[in-house]
Amino acid sequence: MNWLASDAEMVRKLIAKDWQVYQKQLAGYVGGLLLALGLVGMGTPLLSAAGTLLLLVLLIVVGSYAIQSSVMAERKQQTQPFVMSLPVTPMDVFWGKLLANLAIYLVPFLLVVGGLLALVLTTARPDGTVPWIALVAMFLLANFCVSLCVAIAVDSEGWNIFTMLVLMTLIGPFIYGIGRLDSIARHLQTDQIVWSPAALGILAGELAVILIAILIAGWVHARKPSFL
């Protein structure tokens, strides 16, 4: 079993293909995210809260949209046989799909996270929220990666939707939970950026989840008897 792509150039073309196919819709989401960032930057508590909520919702929606349209819908709309008829191995398609979706998601994700961090660090807002923002952002990224890996590895639309819904329901409790962690909560209103062992541990856990999800999806994909 070969886990690697056979042709990096071909994988690049598959990524570019997905990017071109979904860039218009992505531009719409990016527009919405910029609007939400603008609301956060307005400074008033109400607009800031509304902007933060909108950012969170849009980040979740853009992730679901990317997975549904580029993985699940491709199966349903039967464009997968076309892609598989190209000179590619199943693992080329796996890496192409994984990296294309990461690229599609990381554009708005980095825009939001970068924008939020810039807002926090350049305005009067307490800088102590930086670790909290990083943990929540990384949780959203891990959430997306696990959903994506399940969608690539498992053909069943029902299981994919179930996984996405379950993971989405974890976001609220996670945000609540880390806000209650003393080593994180006590710095939220200060200007001190403190990376406590607990925060670093959670961050490492999130990265590990992403890595494990990718490894398992690759392992499952490489053993599939059929690629349609």
Binding site: Q20, V21, M84, S85, P87, D92, L228
Partner: protein, 294 residues
């Protein structure tokens, strides 16, 4: 000369269907028609040849290379179209042409433009607005314009109106002028197969029930109408696939018609009234019914 396709003892098991010990060879430069009813295993066989499905056993060689190990090299030389293959609805045909051109350096833009005119396709139109016939022609354009050595076409004319079907078959006929090119063409429409194929394989219930060149198929099979009464001895004659007693005439369909057939029938007390050639469809139906009864 290396055959375009060589399958030996190929098996594939699904929950409700199995492909059994398929041995098949397509010589280079030949057109083989793969005929079978829906669910006979035609698509599975073609997917095995594309490396899209892994065989449970046996050897799959395409253009002299083993699959799935050499699938990337092999797929560079194969054009594959199937009726369950779709292009991206939101993208134009021109976008698809540019995408394929970026992958295959042999892309022939002049030929692609010629096919656009002949198929009456608008390159800037999004695929979502194409009819089924236009979609099939678009897929074939993307394949033909890169001049593959082997074409694997899975039911390419299914669902097409007569005009589109004629255009597709004309384009195929033109492709066939290249003697180096091999084609495996699956269909349950025997008229299309009869029009383009050099050899024919009947697939039924996941097994090859007959395979040979088209002319010998058509030469071997005859419908013989006799006067008299049929007997088990008639049914046991070599090649007899069907005997229908409709007094006073007996209809006998045989797949081994030769100089000895008529004397053998006469020796069994039958008077031969008429000997007719059979259409490929009739041969196929008779063969399939024979294999069901076996």
């Amino acid at each position: 000369m290396t055959p375009a396709i060589a399958l030996a003892g190929v098996r594939k098991q699904y929950d409700d269907f199995a492909l059994h010990d398929i041995d098949l060879e397509l010589p280079a430069g030949q057109v083989m028609g793969l005929v079978g009813v829906n669910g006979a295993g035609k698509s599975t066989l073609l997917r095995l040849l594309m490396g899209l499905v892994r065989a449970d056993g046996g050897v799959v060689e395409v253009l002299g290379q083993r699959l799935p190990q050499a699938q990337v090299a092999v797929k560079r030389e194969i054009g594959h179209a199937s009726d369950d293959m779709r292009l991206y609805r939101g993208q134009s045909l021109r976008w698809h042409m540019d995408f394929i051109r970026g992958i295959y350096p042999v892309w022939d833009e002049a030929y692609a433009q010629d096919l656009l005119r002949r198929f009456d396709l608008r390159p800037q139109q999004a695929l979502g607005g194409f009819s089924h016939g236009q979609r099939v022609k678009a897929v074939l354009l993307l394949i033909f314009a890169r001049h593959p050595r082997l074409l694997l076409l899975d039911e390419p004319t299914t669902g097409l109106d007569p005009v589109a079907r004629g255009e597709v078959l004309d384009a195929l006929a033109e492709v066939l002028r290249d003697e180096e090119r091999s084609i495996l063409f699956s269909s349950h429409n025997t008229a299309d197969i009869e029009q383009v194929a050099d050899s024919i394989t009947f697939l039924h219930g996941g097994r090859i029930v007959a395979s040979g060149d088209k002319e010998s198929f058509l030469d071997r099979w005859r419908r013989v109408l006799c006067r008299g009464t049929s007997s088990d001895a008639v049914r046991r004659l070599p090649g007899v696939a069907s005997v229908r007693d409709g007094a006073p005439l007996v209809e006998i369909k045989t797949g081994a018609f030769d100089d000895t057939t008529l004397p053998a029938l006469q020796a069994l007390g039958l008077t031969v009234e008429k000997v007719e050639p059979m259409s490929l469809e009739d041969i196929f139906v008779t063969t399939v019914r024979g294999s069901n009864n076996a």
